[in-house]
Symmetry: C2
Subunit: 160 residues, 2 copies
């Protein structure tokens, strides 16, 4: 199996306060989906390498919810949300709040597209209620965390 790193495309929408992230993976939708729903797999890749992920709960089903922490030494960063809809191997729609900004909330949609030949395109959109909030999110350094997380996901998919 190759360990080539694919490009992660991160783009802001010109018309609405939304960020769109696109990334291809060398694994079929079933496998990429499972890496998003099984907390034992999620904990291995979500976020940058410098942070350790600790899951409080991760009940990835329609009507479920989640909370996790990213930990670096003494620092803990909490995140939580609810799963609006989970369609196996197709789509996850969820909410997302970074607890240091407790009034902020994003509506996220993760779409798993079968590219054939055991490959999957992941398209993840994140919608918020103002351009200022969207641009602050992009400026926060999320890009490197997202890219690094997807590189770790490549590794999880290779190993599984």
């Amino acid at each position: 199996m190759t360990t080539k790193t694919r490009e992660t495309d991160i783009a802001v929408d010109p018309d609405v306060p939304l960020v769109r992230i696109t990334r291809d993976f060398d694994a079929p939708p079933e496998k990429v989906f499972r890496a998003h729903t099984d907390p034992d797999l999620v904990v291995q890749w979500l976020g940058p390498r410098s942070l350790q992920m600790r899951i409080d709960h991760y009940d990835c089903r329609t009507g479920g919810s989640y909370r996790y922490l990213h930990v670096r030494g003494q620092d803990e960063f909490g995140f939580h949300g609810s799963f609006h809809e989970v369609r196996p191997n197709k789509v996850i729609v969820q909410t997302f709040t970074f607890e240091s900004d407790p009034d902020g909330v994003a509506l996220e949609r993760i779409v798993f597209t079968d590219l054939g030949d055991g490959r999957t395109r992941l398209t993840s959109t994140s919608l918020v209620d103002s351009f200022a909030a969207r641009d602050a999110f992009v400026a926060s350094g999320m890009e490197s965390g997202v890219r690094e997380g997807y590189e770790r996901l490549d590794e999880v998919l290779s190993a599984a």
Copy 2:
């Protein structure tokens, strides 16, 4: 107690695909909040008079979810979503899907503001990912349903 009907203000945001609904009620926040969270009360007012509401489940707490039907004769319209955050007497953040448009989803925030003198201002925003979807929602006739629902809520608050 007066039965005066207050104005419901429904406004589209000029910059983002969001609808903002504002309405005052002659009841304190605790009471207006309870009418949003207790399914035995919700069923009495949510939606226009011409539809009967049937609740499948309504678990209004952070991380909970809901599903209900609006029924008119043989016609049934389903709605479901998840409760991202429920702060008692302050705010409810939830998702919303009309099941006839299963890929559509709105992120809603309902804020309960204490106006003093036993009055509450309800500010409800609904965010979607395109102006076309937002404008279709407004054009769907939701305005009369919202206004009538809030008139029914006045009655529930007077009776309780």
